[in-house]
């Protein structure tokens, strides 16, 4: 169940190895989190999250590779059956890939968009159905500013997030007011996934994103930016003439 302060007792993470999701879960663990289901393709990274959260939360790992989107439904059923209710679901699954390598490969493009858009959308649909029938629930979808304005340097990842972001916003309308769905748009997050890249301006951390996410969730918002200033930066950016914006290096 969800308590009066918005804290869930049960959490499912799709993309269970995600560092941002782990940072969110760490905050929830201090506020009564009891059961954590981590679903993802790599057991080691999920086990690391489980160990980081510690034994106060009862954690179970579920194997799920969103490259096979049709597997999402059954895995979510299993996780929900184990937990009883799906109080809060965090959809964090994504691969960053390597833009220059992947952009010329039809196969890799297909895999990237499957994992970053099709799979999460399938998973979200299964979660949404459950939340509708159980009568309450919170859903957090990790999107990205990369999906706000798709850029040359990471258009494959950006296009994937753009699709997911749009899907999630539509789903939020479907679920309203039965359940709250929050789309989180972080900027450049320093994490394992981005360790090999030069940080973009306004870079942030998983912990900061986690804080901003919960603040927005509890305030009942549909979209969260992290850091918050990105909302205004992107608003300006979106309205620049394309000829100008494409030359701004970030």
């Amino acid at each position: 169940m969800i308590d009066a302060n918005g804290y869930p007792q049960n959490v499912l993470v799709i993309g269970g190895g995600s560092e941002i999701a782990a940072a969110i879960v760490a905050l929830l663990a201090e506020n009564g989190l009891e059961r954590l289901a981590l679903a993802g393709p790599r057991e080691e990274s999920m086990a690391a999250v489980r160990d980081q959260i510690g034994p106060v939360v009862s954690t179970k790992l579920f194997e799920l590779d969103l490259a096979e989107p049709e597997r999402a439904g059954p895995v979510i059923d299993d996780a929900a059956a184990w937990m009883g209710t799906l109080d809060c679901t965090i959809v964090a699954a994504a691969i960053l890939g390597d833009q220059t390598r992947d952009e010329v490969s039809p196969e890799r493009v297909a895999v990237s968009l499957t994992i970053n858009t099709v799979g999460p959308a399938a998973a979200l649909t299964a979660v949404a159905n459950r939340v509708e029938s159980q009568g309450f629930g919170e859903i957090i979808v990790l999107s990205s500013v990369a999906g706000e304005v798709v850029r040359r340097r990471n258009y494959l990842y950006g296009a994937g997030k753009l699709g997911l972001d749009g899907f999630a916003l539509g789903l939020a309308e479907r679920l309203r007011p039965r359940a709250s769905l929050l789309v989180v748009r972080p900027g450049f997050v320093r994490s394992r996934m981005t360790a090999h890249l030069d940080p973009a301006p306004l870079a942030t951390t998983p912990e900061r994103v986690a804080k901003d996410t919960l603040a927005a969730l509890f305030a009942g918002r549909t979209i969260a930016w992290s850091p918050g200033i990105l909302r205004w930066v992107m608003m300006v950016f979106r309205h620049l003439p394309r000829g100008l914006s494409r030359r701004i290096p970030f």
């Binding site: 169940m1 969800i2 308590d3 009066a4 302060n5 918005g6 804290y7 007792q9 201090e30 506020n31 009564g32 009891e34 009883g84 209710t85 029938s133 159980q134 009568g135 309450f136 007011p177 039965r178 603040a215 509890f218 305030a219 009942g220």
Partner: protein, 447 residues
């Protein structure tokens, strides 16, 4: 699609699969024989998730009103559970009978008053609501039964948060009064020590409660207005003669609209309100004759005042701690104020003996109730810490106000929990009776 349900604090909220408003016992018994998890609901004045069940069936009992029988000689009232205390007063007070125990609002049903085993300003003398019942009728999945206070099922139902079944009718002994007015005395206090001190004189009065300015800090922490009262006798009206000493015409003076700005209550306005209230009260101290509503139900003058908190909602943190743990009261008030969680409305009083109710809240000691905006950063952690200290001190959190207690602490706070669950299981082997609160706190049943 059914409507979203929550308690008075607006959080947590959930959607039932179905909501029905039965008007007869028969209808209720039929529902209870079905497979759906079922939660009784009165006027929704509990603050958290006690009167709702996500994806289940909610029985709104506010139309269950087949019986209203007052014996004018003895003051014994047999009344259906759907009547509100206000509706009862409107009929019995003009005949000289008052409800023996009343909470701070008249908008609660008889069923809700039993299920929460409510207390009033006279608890130190007269105990809780269930202690004034001669019997009650309970509808359970295994049938209807009439219970008296020596029955284990009665003890489970009094304070049992709707989990033993549906209370359909009670017989309660009313209190004889001469007027509908209250002789009230207000004493301002300048510190928590003074407030405690003033309240220990409560045995001179039937009614006693202290309002606390929970935004005052430092040496003023815990300052407030101790208020005491008695039902005024005819010859105590200070020479005023009154045509109808028992007249009672409650009315709301205002209602907060749905569209109220969401931040009307913020740390600044809460502090301003509390200071102003304290100053005004201190200026008007002394003895006076006041209306019954002004004394018992000041908040009822403003309809839907819970909307002032905006869409995040609010919660009430009410605890009781045994005598000797006064410093815990100070810690709670002080740390909430310091943490930027000012309480709009804060009340302190003493409890007397506890009732037979297995999950009944009141026990001897101090009770503190604080209204706090919910879902603010840091609040969850702070209250969890208080919970642990309260449990360790032998105190407890009031379930009728709760939406966030750590389930691990429940049995420490309510040592009769297992016995309660056993009785529930006997009355309801399939676990039909269920609420979001019970699921959250894992009380009995098939959660």
């Amino acid at each position: 699609m059914t409507q979203q349900l929550s308690g008075w604090g607006k959080t947590p909220a959930s959607f039932p699969a179905k909501l029905i408003q039965p008007t007869s016992d028969q209808e209720i018994l039929e529902v209870l024989s079905g497979p759906l998890r079922t939660a009784p609901r009165g006027l929704g004045r509990s603050y958290g998730d006690a009167a709702q069940i996500a994806a289940g069936l909610v029985l709104d009992l506010t139309r269950l009103k087949p019986t209203f029988e007052l014996d004018e000689k003895t003051g014994l009232l047999t009344v259906s559970a759907g009547y509100s205390l206000g509706e009862i007063l409107e009929r019995t007070l003009p005949r000289g009978w008052f409800i023996p125990v009343t909470p701070g609002t008249r908008f609660v049903t008889v069923g809700g008053a039993v299920a929460s085993d409510v207390h009033g300003k006279n608890h130190h003398r007269d105990g809780s609501f269930s202690m004034h019942l001669s019997n009650l009728e309970l509808l359970t999945p295994s049938g209807a039964m009439t219970l008296t206070s020596s029955d284990p099922a009665f003890a489970a139902t009094a304070g049992g948060m709707g989990l033993t079944g549906v209370v359909s009718k009670i017989t309660v002994k009313l209190l004889a009064v001469e007027t509908s007015l209250i002789r009230a005395v207000t004493v301002p206090t300048r510190s928590l020590a003074e407030t405690f001190e003033a309240m220990t004189r409560d045995d001179e009065y039937t009614y006693a409660v202290a309002w606390i300015d929970a935004t005052a800090t430092g040496s003023r922490l815990g300052r407030g207005l101790a208020s005491f009262g008695e039902h005024a006798k005819i010859d105590e009206l200070f020479g005023r003669t009154i045509d109808q000493p028992l007249a009672y015409h409650p009315k709301a003076v205002a209602t907060i609209p749905v569209s109220a700005p969401s931040q009307l209550l913020n740390p600044l306005t809460v502090r301003l309100f509390n200071s102003a209230w304290f100053q005004a009260g201190a200026a008007r101290c002394g003895e006076k004759i006041t209306s019954l509503d002004g004394f018992f139900y000041p908040l009822d003058a403003v309809g839907s005042w819970n909307r002032l908190y905006g869409r995040r909602g609010f919660l009430q943190y009410q605890v009781v701690v045994p005598y000797g743990s006064e410093e815990l009261i100070e810690t709670i008030i002080g740390r909430l104020a310091a943490g930027g969680h000012p309480s709009f409305l804060s009340v302190l009083k003493r409890f007397g003996e506890q009732s037979m109710g297995l999950l009944s809240f009141p026990k001897p000691g101090w009770t503190l109730a604080l209204d706090i905006p919910a879902k603010r950063p840091g609040l969850g952690e702070l209250l969890r810490d208080f919970d642990r200290r309260v449990a360790a001190a032998g105190g407890r959190v009031y379930l009728a106000k709760d939406g966030r207690l750590d389930p691990e602490l429940l049995e420490t706070m309510y040592p009769n929990l297992r016995k309660f669950e056993e009785i529930c299981h006997n009355l309801d082997p399939e676990g039909i009776m269920a609420t979001d609160l019970a699921r959250r706190l894992r009380i009995g049943g098939r959660h």
